[in-house]
Amino acid sequence: MAQRYDAIVIGGGHNGLVTAAYLARARKKVVVLERRHVLGGAAVTEELYPGFKFTVCSYVCSLLRPQIIRDLDLPSHGFEVIPQESSFTPLPDGRYLFYHGSEEDTFQAVAKFSRRDAEAMPRFGRLMARMAKFIAPTLTMTPPDVGSLNPSELRKLLALNKQVKTLTEDELYTFARLMTMSAADYLDEWFETDVVKASLCSSGIIGTLLGPRSPGTAYVLMHHYMGEIDGAYRSWGYVRGGMGMVSEAIARAARQFGAEIRVNAEVRRILVRNGRAIGVELASGEKIYAKVIASGADPKRTFLKLIEKSDLPADFVRGIENFKIEGSSGKVNLALKEAPSFSCLPGNGVHLQGAISLGPSVDYLEKAYDDAKYGDYSHRPYVDMCVPSTLDPTLAPPGKHIMSCFIQYAPYSLRKGTWEERREEFGETVLDTIEEYIPSIRNIILHRQFLSPWDLEQMIGLTGGNIFHGELTPDQLLFLRPTPGWAQYRMPLKGLYLCGSGAHPGGGVMGAPGLNAAREILRDWALLRV
């Protein structure tokens, strides 16, 4: 029996759920179709082993738009952030860099290495925060269609220009430099201590196929200062119950507004008639029709797998084929029988509660990247580690812990072998690296999960295993994302929209693409353009 809705959302990832919630709030009849048995896409919690809730992919929250938190009243649906305020970078020589949120504490920690750097840190932080404040409003703006002479588009350009005008001349130059410099070069201008630079650089490379010396990575430094939790920038936090609770809370809000959410409902293809997207067909053969189809899947999956090439303009297809979506990250998730102990700072202390970086120098990070360039996983990988169970006891049985390790680099395309063949070896390499800092790690592991980009693709549906639905490089951002001319959520088929991270402003758990897409869909509806 064919069902008819106002809107279908393909994929129950956090962005798709945001779109569904906003459409439902506007009284549209919405159904979300999720392939897996569980919602959330890469923002997901899974109890893989009894008592242990693995935050399988995404592991911290910070960029979720406050507007979404407010509009959907997420706290009432169980969304709660536990601030992650500290940063711990152990060094192979037994020293470590460890600071909490307070400026005074950070000063002391950095001064152990360099007083000059300690003095520079607050100035740097303030500049990054100012830059982030400038960028933040652009996240929930629809990008202008550059090149269009349409008055409404020119108005958008002027609005953007107005945003630009809020910057001082110095800030404008800083922004231009952040967009074009490497994180390493930019940080070289501020700091002299390698570990300080490395700890800041690492945010520049997360999820990218770039190294700290790659031009453009300085921009991502700023991106990561955009975290707003209760108005404080650069405050990352754990979500109680794991990142899956972000998606779950949004889903609850959506359901409350009347949206229908189905799991185990894989969309096999988008149905097209006369240049219109009219519905979808599930793997089961069931057909569902709707006026609006919003895809939360990545651009390559959406346009190259769910739709016939012949139904799309040739230029557009070429643009999507050129869209860079090579994954570069792996994940190692561990269930531990006790808290891990670092040889440089033994015991279960405050340092275990925040961000932990295994990446002692800029060269280390760059060498890890070199391996990936040539189609191999890093033999000495960068590990972005956290033990959220130290602050959120719901994630593991008492006294036990879950450890989430995000790994750079693990390129989707290997030159030798396949990920199926080499996953174990990769995982062991990661454990070897961890063992250098936590000698007892192998003895305290109860369960392990190694995820390569290939696994992320198989499991979550992320093409190339790319966590951002496509590289966040300037040639694929703003009015160029996912491809020039199609950056405003409307896609070449009437009724078809892109609402996931493949659209502006890109990846990270922001909810912004979903919000912006919903806004454009509702606008089109109001103008009867749907």
């Binding site: 231009a176 074009t180 453009g216 040639d475 009015f479």
Partner: protein, 525 residues
């Protein structure tokens, strides 16, 4: 000779000579002061082995601005450009790829490697040519004043934007997309032939401390496609590059400028934020209303100027200006023609060893960690193929540009590494030129350290500073000071450290001269 001049130009490099000519024609009394015995800086010819004259700096001419070519009547002054034909031969493992200036000829050649690439080639050339043509006017004007653009500038900017828009919305979007891309990614969208991609990558990356995987490098390819009015791409100059310098000097003198060689400026004098003149080695001072420095920004501001005259912020920016040179030169005097069997019969006047994008990236990897490339990229010029008088009959000059040879080495120094570098170059060339070692009568090695000592190029950087996006346009050399003027009133930059950067274009000199003349009415006493 008057003791006081309107304008003193520090350094007789090609940009300084161009600036001198335009300033003199604009009615000003100009004095050019050059430290060496010859003008031109790295645009020069030297006898490096008795009987053999070669380029110790640039081997070929870049995109000399058509206005400069015409205004200075360089053809009448004896400058003869001889384009290399084929333009370049890309050499790797296996058959070499010859790239000609003529598009159909290159297509026929490419077809031997990939018919698909042969078919795509004209569209590639057309796309980049249109982009370069639209970009051209921007090279011939100062960067916009970002903070407070004048109405004239805003209209100019709008005009430029519309020029791009007139290329068509799609073309414009593709052009906006290009600059931040890695050259590798950009080329992979068009072609599959590795030698072709590698050769274009070398074009985009010459003199730059980045690799093909680095974002922002695609943009370096665009100026290679500027319209032909600009001298010629990879053109030799008859008599060696020094002939070009000589012609530029003649044009300057004919216009009324004075040029003094063996006159090293050791200090640019100023008081209360205004320039007053210069001081030479030996103590002689020369007064001037304005000084235009053809030296690079670091040399200018950190060695020639009083630090008290500059703000700490400005000095910090200058210290942070990336200048780590990555190019070395090895000149060979050869007993006979260096034949490359992979390239067919005869000797190619310009060839490069660049087997693949990965080869170039690995060469760059070494440099990232402070070492000279174990397997460097070689861009090789044999000027004697088109200009036999540079060597005794039947003999040849071969000038090799080697990349990456970072100025700042982590272990050891260039004095000890110099010979090893040259040996490495010989080994690579011997792979492609049978019997190469036996041909070598003598060699001259110029590491970045040598280039610094010889030409005054800080850290041996041939372009007076990295030409990456973060040091381009309104960011070159320092944010806020990209329009040739400096914080010291009356002091200007007229060399490659200013927009539009390096390469032998004459554009910085020409642009600077116009700005100096624009300022003159309020300056002259």
């Amino acid at each position: 000779m008057p003791e006081s001049f309107d304008i003193v130009i520090v350094g007789g490099g090609h940009n300084g000579l161009v600036a001198a000519t335009y300033l003199a024609r604009g009615g000003r009394r100009v004095l050019v002061l050059e430290r060496r015995s010859t003008v031109g800086g790295p645009v020069t010819t030297e006898e490096f082995v008795p009987g053999f004259r070669g380029p110790t700096g640039a081997s070929v001419c870049g995109r000399l601005r058509p206005e400069v070519l015409e205004d200075l009547n360089l053809a009448k002054r004896g400058v003869q450009f001889i384009p290399a034909e084929p333009e370049v031969v890309a050499v790797g493992d296996g058959p070499a790829l010859r790239i000609f200036r003529n598009v159909p000829k290159t297509q026929a050649e490419l077809a031997r490697f990939s018919q698909k690439d042969a078919d795509t080639y004209p569209r590639f050339v057309e796309f980049l040519s249109r982009f370069a043509a639209a970009l051209d006017p921007i090279l011939a004007m100062p960067p916009p004043d970002i903070a407070s653009p004048s109405l004239a500038e805003l209209t100019g900017l709008l005009g430029r934007a519309l020029r791009f828009r007139r290329l068509g919305k799609r073309a414009m979007q593709q052009m906006l997309r290009l600059p931040p891309m890695a050259i590798r990614d950009f080329l992979n969208e068009w072609f599959e032939t590795e030698l072709l991609k590698a050769s274009y990558a070398v074009d985009a990356l010459t003199g730059t401390f980045e690799g093909p995987w680095s974002p922002g490098t695609a943009f370096g390819l665009v100026p290679q496609f500027l319209p032909d009015g600009h001298g010629a791409r990879s053109a030799f100059v008859r008599g060696g590059m020094g002939s070009l310098a000589d012609a530029l000097a003649k044009a300057a003198r004919d216009a009324g400028a004075t040029i003094r060689t063996d006159a090293e400026v050791v200090h640019i004098n100023s008081a209360d934020g205004r320039v007053t003149g210069v001081e030479l080695a030996g103590g002689e001072t020369i007064g001037a209303q304005a000084v235009a420095s053809n030296a690079d920004p670091k040399r200018t501001f950190l060695h020639l100027v009083d630090p008290e005259e500059l703000s700490p912020e400005f000095l910090l920016h200058i210290r942070n200006f990336e200048m780590n040179g990555v190019v070395a030169k090895v000149n060979f005097a050869l007993a006979g023609p260096p034949k490359l069997p992979a390239a067919g019969d005869g000797v190619p006047p310009h060839f490069r060893v660049c087997p693949s994008l990965e080869y170039i990236e690995r060469a760059y990897d070494d440099a990232k960690y402070g070492q000279a490339s174990g397997k460097p990229v070689l861009d090789v010029f044999v000027p004697t193929v088109v200009d036999p008088d540079l060597a005794p009959p039947g003999m040849h000059v071969m000038s090799t540009q080697v990349q990456y040879t970072p100025y700042a080495l982590r272990r050891g120094g260039w004095d000890t590494e110099r010979e090893k570098l040259a040996d490495r170059v010989v080994t690579i060339l011997a792979d492609h030129i049978p019997g190469f070692e036996r041909l070598v009568l003598g060699r001259q090695i110029l590491t970045p350290l040598d280039l610094e000592a010889r030409f005054g190029l800080t850290e041996g950087h041939i372009y007076h500073g990295e030409m990456t996006l973060d040091q381009s346009l309104f960011l070159r050399p320092v944010p806020g000071w990209s329009r040739y003027r400096t914080p010291i009133d009356g002091l200007y930059l007229c060399g490659s450290g200013a927009h539009p950067g390096g390469g032998i274009t004459g554009a910085p000199g020409w642009n600077a001269a116009r700005e100096i003349l624009k300022d003159w009415p309020r300056r002259g006493r």
